[in-house]
């Protein structure tokens, strides 16, 4: 007999500020890109692009993930959130830290502002990790999904520490190694350690839940975990001690194989699903997965043609604007309306007709968001490959439209007033 432990939903202050800030950061991201299209045509190590990438990774990706994780941890772990206070506190540190960091990158102010920003971000990663560890109680009740969540939290902490060291190194050089090599390790700890493993863990729990499809091939997830982590750890050790060299292909293959195992697991759940309707939110996820696969395919080009910056830029574009953004654009409307609905309607009673969560936002606009997102992504990729500033500008204009549509709906949900018809 399964236990009937009921996890309470965390207070709104542990979740909603992250969504609000994250969606604003997405607008800021599109705006910064629009203001600096030329940064997508030169070497990736340039002030504007550093600011843009950190807006995407911290302000947008990590911010929304924190909010969603605080909401979903109790669902996945069947336990109350360990500390809502820490969750709220991590919002303050992440928001202020990301802001300082982005601002100082944009102006290339190396020094204490950048270092303070980095430190604040580390603080929020620590809070988050403690919350994940203590809510999951992974030592007492182990599941593979919890393991992914905890491990990805550790990778986030590692990434932010490496990032802080890089920021210090910019102001007070102390590395004996090449700064750009360490930057590669930092970036990939963030991408393949934090984002990839978090998304693997959460999606392997939520996608079967949304689709009502079970997969019995849990073994695939074990392989995914082992391969992704082995690939990442070896890449970091080898990259740090020997420098990033030809063996990188081995590590790419390891992480790639791990990711394929995970995608096969999701596909198996999809094949056995009960819900046959595929909604627009799910379609977002599908496109984002294609972006992930494409970026893997690009890695050899990035490695063997380091002088053609566009491959590295396209790689980053696909990962941040395609993969991470795609998932969030869709999943926002699979989580946020439900959270807000619970806040407004759960405790009402007295013969009251209530709306559905999907009626808290404009469903038609989601379809447009999806179309614009695909158009923007394709045009931006084309512009980056051909280094055509004109195409990049048009693409970034469409990205602004995507951001406008997205934030309109997010704000509509957040500002929803309880409507009770007479």
């Amino acid at each position: 007999m399964a236990d009937i432990n009921i996890a309470k939903a965390p207070p709104a202050s542990a979740v909603l500020p992250f969504y609000a800030t994250g969606s604003l950061a997405f607008c800021a991201l599109c705006l910064l890109l629009f203001l600096s299209p030329a940064s997508l045509t030169t070497h990736y190590f340039n002030p504007h692009l550093l600011a843009i990438v950190h807006t995407a990774a911290l302000g947008w990706g990590t911010m929304i993930i924190f909010g969603a994780a605080h909401q979903l941890l109790p669902v996945i772990c069947q336990e109350d959130l360990f500390s809502p206070g820490m969750a709220t506190f991590s919002w303050y540190t992440l928001t202020s830290g990301a802001f300082l960091l982005i601002w100082s990158f944009w102006n290339m102010w190396v020094g204490w502002i950048m270092i303070t920003g980095g430190s604040l971000v580390i603080l929020s990663a620590i809070m988050y990790l403690i919350n994940v560890l203590c809510t999951s109680r992974i030592c007492k009740k182990y599941t593979l999904q919890k393991l992914f969540l905890v491990t990805s939290g550790c990778w986030l902490l590692f990434t932010t520490i490496a990032g802080l060291l890089l920021a210090i190194n910019l102001a007070f050089p102390f590395f004996s190694k090449n700064h750009l090599d360490i930057l590669k390790l930092h970036a990939h700890a963030g991408l393949a350690g934090w984002f990839l493993q978090l998304i693997t863990g959460v999606s392997s729990k939520l996608v079967p839940m949304f689709l009502l499809g079970k997969s019995s091939k849990e073994q695939l997830l074990k392989y995914a975990y082992a391969l992704q982590n082995a690939g990442m750890a070896l890449f970091l050790l080898d990259g740090y001690f020997m420098g990033v060299g030809n063996r990188v292909i081995i590590y790419i293959i390891l992480v790639l194989t791990g990711s394929i195992c995970w995608i096969l697991y999701l596909y198996d759940a999809y094949k056995h699903r009960v819900r046959k309707k595929t909604d627009t939110q799910m379609k977002h996820t599908f496109i984002s997965m294609i972006c992930l696969v494409c970026s893997f395919a690009l890695l050899p080009l990035v490695y063997y043609f380091p002088d053609s910056h566009q491959w590295a830029l396209l790689y980053g574009t696909l990962l941040f604007m395609g993969w991470v953004t795609g998932i969030i654009l869709g999943k926002t409307f699979k989580t946020l309306p439900f959270i807000v609905w619970n806040g407004h309607y759960k405790n009402l009673s007295g013969k009251i007709k209530v709306p559905l969560p999907k009626q808290l936002y404009n469903e038609g606009l989601i379809v447009w968001q999806f179309r614009l997102y695909i158009a923007a992504l394709i045009l931006l990729s084309a512009g980056v490959i051909t280094r055509n500033l004109f195409v990049i500008r048009i693409a970034l204009g469409i990205w602004l439209a995507v951001a406008a549509v997205y934030i309109y709906n997010v704000l509509k949900i957040l500002m929803h007033k309880t409507t009770v018809p007479q």
């Binding site: 007999m1 236990d3 009921i6 609905w341 619970n342 759960k346 009673s349 013969k351 007709k353």
Partner: protein
């Protein structure tokens, strides 16, 4: 066996397998009945009269062919299908506004088009028209769609082998209502209201399930499965841990009324039923 114009081919075959050869022998177009897959699809859907039309012969010819096998034909005359006037909703409609689906190739290939028909009909906008082109009148389909999904239907025989069956898709019951609370029947009740509605479905008329011990998505799967088999006049009473929002969205396009009573944290009772007409 007594047969008439309305007797299904499948009934004849069931009574005597030799009936197939007898029917097939009458007219060449009927030869497709020899193919077991086609027969499976068509025989249960086609009456003797319709078979005669398909074969381009008279019902009497078929009756004569079947007589040696012991089938006694009773001429009941026309099956009461007075020529129906072309309905108003089909007047002044341009072809662009109609979704056509020619199922003849599907049937010729031995497949059953029903699933695809239902799928395509689902895609058609409310109040719009869907047209099936078939080599016979798809009577069971008309009954099926008119039960719930279609407002009205009309059959137009273009040629001997082409029947155009038009369906007018129903608009949602209360789409006329305005405001954010149209088309849904989700009601958060207080205790007296919930008791009152439950009283309508006393013990014999409701099925009770407890999904509190199930891990997600178990509760939703269980409830959806129960709703599938729930008779129209019965209600489903559910003990749940929380208000199941994903379930409510999933069933929002079905005609199901949901009453929710949140007794406390982790204790929710629900009553789901099809509202009486």
């Amino acid at each position: 066996m007594q047969i008439n114009g309305q007797t299904k081919i499948s009934d004849i075959i069931k009574a005597n397998k030799a009936g197939i050869d007898a029917i097939v022998g009458v007219a060449k177009p009927l030869e497709r009945l020899k193919n077991p897959i086609l027969r499976k699809v068509m025989a249960s859907r086609v009456t003797l009269t319709e078979a005669a039309k398909m074969g381009g012969c008279k019902v009497q010819h078929l009756a004569d062919a079947l007589a040696p096998l012991g089938f006694v034909f009773e001429d009941t005359g026309a099956p009461g299908q007075a020529v129906k006037q072309r309905p108003v909703w089909l007047e002044n409609v341009s072809g662009w506004d109609i979704t056509f689906f020619d199922v003849r190739p599907v049937i010729e290939n031995g497949a059953d088009p029903l699933k695809e028909i239902l799928h395509r009909f689902k895609e058609v906008d409310e109040g719009k028209i869907f047209c099936i082109i078939n080599s016979f009148v798809p009577t069971p389909l008309i009954h099926l769609l008119e039960q719930e999904k279609a407002e009205d239907s009309f059959v137009d025989q273009a040629t001997d082998t082409a029947f155009y069956t038009y369906f007018l898709k129903k608009k949602k019951a209360n789409a006329v209502a305005v405001g954010p609370h149209r088309d849904k029947k989700i009601i958060m009740d207080d205790e007296p209201a919930f008791q009152a509605i439950c009283a309508n479905y006393a013990d014999g008329k409701r099925k009770e399930i407890d999904v509190r011990h199930l891990e997600m998505p178990g509760p939703m799967e269980t409830i959806l499965a129960e709703l599938e088999i729930l008779p129209d006049n019965m209600a489903l009473f559910v003990h749940h841990k929380r208000v199941p929002l994903y379930l409510l969205e999933e069933i929002s396009d079905r005609n199901i009324e949901v009453h929710i009573r949140q007794i406390g944290e982790g204790n929710v009772k629900m009553l789901l039923f099809k509202p009486p007409k």
